[in-house]
């Protein structure tokens, strides 16, 4: 029924009978923004994430089939349309009292509201930058421009993710949808080929709400891939172009693969330098043990990177490491391989909670990963993969020339995304385990004892009269 209503509204809009004002009240944003085309089919409102995924896969297959056959297909919504929908949705979803999203749809705005209340106990950790050292994204907002440098998108930092943005379906977020969709993770690659990995460049300060980053013609971009046994300086990957949203590469050997998507852009007298980094651990039980041992101890920094964040490995960390809620995780901010003191580093959790700290003289900063996965118990998944985002920012009074334009200072921004899982302490119980074990030991022990006692025949003396 709802689909019919949506379709009717879409038709009305396409006929120009209602204006944009009315569109604000439409609940189904996709139908509301359909223009001259027939509204695109949508899964039922009460569909499960799996059903929705199957629906979209089927629709994509049909579209591909139709395109291959040369049949007319409904055009995809443009990036501008998607950004507009997202901004409106976020404005609707913003909690009361929280500032509404700006024109760029800064997904971090409501998240920041949550984060600040959540971090009040550790206010000493929070950086208090003065106006001169205002955060780059704030400056960018002030000027009405995206802080994403080189790439633009929904606003906020540019970062590399192993999953595409969610489909704007609020019900999918927070559950097994969103980051855990793994639609393009493609670990394993072709059946007979080496494993492969796909990464998406996204823009925003919230792991769930960030959209695709968009190309910026004014920026100078470069993407480097550093393979475990490849050159330390990395190899250049072809830039994302022609609407391509992700980059993919094969991982034929074991070890840490690192991707650096860097960009430079001049804004006034400030050169914005951003480096979005992704680190992928590719290990398996089999294979060459020496190769694996080398990979575990190999350096994980790029000395030519203008800025980067390195996740600090624990001394006893194994190759199949998983960060859990409640764990303490340290990061190091480096510039050209050297530690950066005083960089503002922000940790953003899967649900958008954030905390900020300042790096010490070793460029090190540490965060405790909070627990922010609270589904209904029947929906709890112990393998739920949540994403975190680290954003590091630093300013420097460096002068130079970029594209024949002088600049007097440089604003550095580095990002690193990762994942974490629910802590076993959340769903495992020693009390029950030991209790059940003890109960069975006592029960079985008593049963054996009583069984044996029952079979013991009482001593009966028999006296013979020998006379």
């Amino acid at each position: 029924m709802k689909a019919l209503v949506s379709a009717g509204l879409g038709l009305l809009l396409s006929m120009g009978l209602v204006g944009g004002v009315l569109a604000e009240g439409v609940t189904d944003e996709h139908a509301a923004h359909a223009t001259s085309e027939a509204p695109r089919a949508r899964p039922p409102e009460n569909a499960t994430p799996e059903e929705k995924r199957a629906f979209y896969q089927k629709r994509a297959a049909e579209r591909a089939k139709a395109e291959a056959a040369g049949e007319p297909v409904a055009p995809r919504p443009s990036e501008a349309q998607i950004a507009e929908w997202r901004a409106k949705r976020e404005a609707r979803e913003a909690p009361a009292g929280a500032p509404a999203a700006d024109d760029h749809g800064h997904g971090a705005t409501p998240a920041k509201g949550r984060g600040e209340s959540g971090t009040s106990k550790s206010a000493q950790d929070k950086a208090t930058p003065d106006k001169a050292a205002a955060k780059p994204e704030e400056a960018a907002r002030g000027s009405g421009r995206s802080a994403g440098m080189g790439m633009r998108g929904a606003g906020g930092a540019i970062w590399l993710s192993d999953s595409p943005p969610s489909r704007g379906d609020a019900s999918a977020r927070g559950g097994m949808g969103g980051m855990s969709g793994m639609g393009g993770m493609a670990m394993g690659g072709e059946r007979s080929g080496p494993p492969s990995k796909r990464l998406w460049l996204r823009a925003g300060n919230d792991p769930q709400k960030s959209g695709f980053a968009r190309e910026d013609a004014e920026a100078e971009s470069e993407t480097l891939l550093v393979r475990p046994q490849g050159p330390l300086a990395g190899e250049t990957l072809p830039p994302l172009a022609d609407g391509k949203k992700n980059l993919a590469f094969e991982m034929p050997v074991q070890g840490y693969y690192r991707v650096y998507a860097s960009s430079r852009k001049l804004q006034g007298e400030t050169l914005n330098v951003s480096v979005a980094k992704a680190e992928i651990a590719n290990f398996s039980h089999g294979g060459d043990e020496e190769e694996r041992a080398q990979a575990l101890t190999a350096p994980r920094i790029l000395e030519s990177a203008p800025i980067e964040i390195v996740r600090e490995k624990a001394p006893d960390e194994k190759m199949f490491f998983q960060l859990k809620s409640g764990d303490e995780q340290a990061f190091v901010v480096l510039q050209k391989g050297l530690p950066v003191q005083g960089a503002r580093v922000r940790f953003v959790s899967h649900e958008g909670w954030s905390k900020e700290a300042v790096s010490d003289e070793q460029g090190r900063v540490s965060f405790q990963v909070i627990r922010d996965y609270f589904p209904a118990w029947d929906d709890f998944k112990k393998r739920f993969k949540a994403s975190y985002l680290i954003i590091a920012e630093a300013n420097a009074a460096e002068k130079g020339v970029f594209k024949d334009q002088p600049y007097s200072n440089v604003r550095y921004q580095a990002t690193l995304a990762g994942s974490y899982y629910p802590s076993p302490d959340d769903y495992r119980s020693y009390a029950w385990g030991l209790g059940i074990g003890l109960l069975i030991v006592l029960f079985c022990g008593s049963a054996v004892y009583l069984y044996r006692r029952r079979r013991v025949k009482p001593f009966q003396e028999v006296r013979f009269d020998e006379r």
Binding site: G188, R191, S192, H285, G286, K318, F380, K381, K382, P424, Y427, R428, S429, Y430, W432, G433, L434, I436, G437, L438, L439, I440, V441, C444, G445, V448
Partner: protein, 331 residues
């Protein structure tokens, strides 16, 4: 001067060895190696034919083959029935190469869980508590359980890979194996003694695992080598034991059916005393502990051979020497 050949001297020394003491120390060294060897960076791979538990993450010196086998069989069917599953065959080959050396001697001399059962039995003996036996009827029925478990080890992971069972059931045998809970304790890891409440299947499997462990502790206390009777690894061993190098041989013409071998057998294998026709006397329940050889008073009636070469033979002199030392066989 008629000196015995050196080789004969060595053979006599071996045949007259204080077997219980030798086995105790061998088992102790093997236990330390496979429970704490990881701290010395010893890693013998993941194809070991005994319970060197993979859940003992810090101390293990290798991993029991059943763990990777179940993981491999639990793959998505599209992967399982592809060229990628060649690794299952190569893995099995690695396991078979390990196994072929000691046959079921891995159970009797090396398996840490078997050693633990022997230690629990020794504790019972010291406390003066008698052990239990199965009746012949019970024995005949219970001996089939290990083959059923072996079949489930293969079928359940296949069902998981095919989407018929929850992933929380994988690896099914490890989840109910007492080694998963008991061996990590020796390196201070009690984390396996928990009930997993993340799903109904996980609750059921972890509760079942703890129940089996509790039964293991009580059972081992009253019954020698209680768990070995149900061990699917033992069933797997038996199925591929034909080409193994270590064998237990019997010469029925020299056997007087005195029953000493049956009396000392932890597994209560009656055929060891009664069967005077079979040469290769190892049965599916045998752990090749060789206590029967040590307790046999008839020279040459029982012997252990390695690649056809006798390495430990029953002798009258050896029997008398061990009896005089007050061996505690059969208690």
């Amino acid at each position: 001067m008629s000196a015995k050949p050196v080789l004969q001297k060595v053979r006599d020394a071996v045949n007259e060895v204080d077997f219980n003491r030798f086995r105790f120390w061998f088992q102790l060294v093997a236990f330390v190696l496979f429970v704490y060897g990881g701290y010395l960076a010893i890693d013998l791979g993941s194809k070991l034919p005994f319970f060197s538990c993979g859940y003992n993450q810090e101390g293990r010196a290798g991993v029991c083959y059943l763990l990777p086998l179940q993981h491999q069989l639990g793959r998505n069917w599209a992967v399982l029935f592809s060229i990628a599953s060649l690794s299952i065959l190569t893995g099995f080959l690695g396991f078979a190469l390990w196994f072929i050396v000691l046959n079921k001697g891995w159970c009797g001399f090396v398996c840490p869980l078997g050693t633990l059962q022997d230690w629990i039995s020794a504790l019972r003996r010291r406390l003066g508590i008698r052990f239990s036996n199965y009746t012949h009827g019970q024995f005949a029925q219970l001996t089939k359980i290990k083959f059923v478990l072996l079949a489930l080890i293969i079928l359940i992971p296949l069902g998981v890979g095919g989407g018929f069972f929850s992933h929380d059931m994988s690896p099914p045998f490890c989840l109910i194996c007492p080694a998963r809970m008991i061996l990590p304790i020796f390196t201070g890891d009690l984390s396996q003694f928990t009930i997993d409440f993340s799903s109904k299947t996980a609750v059921a499997m972890t509760a079942l695992g703890i129940s089996v462990t509790a039964l293991f502790l009580v059972g081992s206390f009253v019954k020698k080598r209680f768990f070995c009777f149900f061990c699917p690894m033992s069933a797997l061993h038996y199925l591929i034991s034909k080409p193994a190098l270590l064998k237990l041989k019997k010469d029925g013409s020299k056997c007087t059916r005195c029953g000493d071998c049956y009396a000392v057998c932890d597994m209560e294998i009656k055929e060891i005393a009664d069967d005077v026709t079979t040469t290769n006397i190892m049965t599916d329940d045998c752990t090749l502990c060789l206590k029967c050889v040590a307790s046999c008073p008839e020279t040459g009636a029982l012997k252990a051979t390695f690649a056809g070469i006798p390495i430990f033979v029953s002798t009258e002199a050896g029997f008398i020497k061990r009896m005089n030392k007050g061996c505690q066989h059969g208690k």
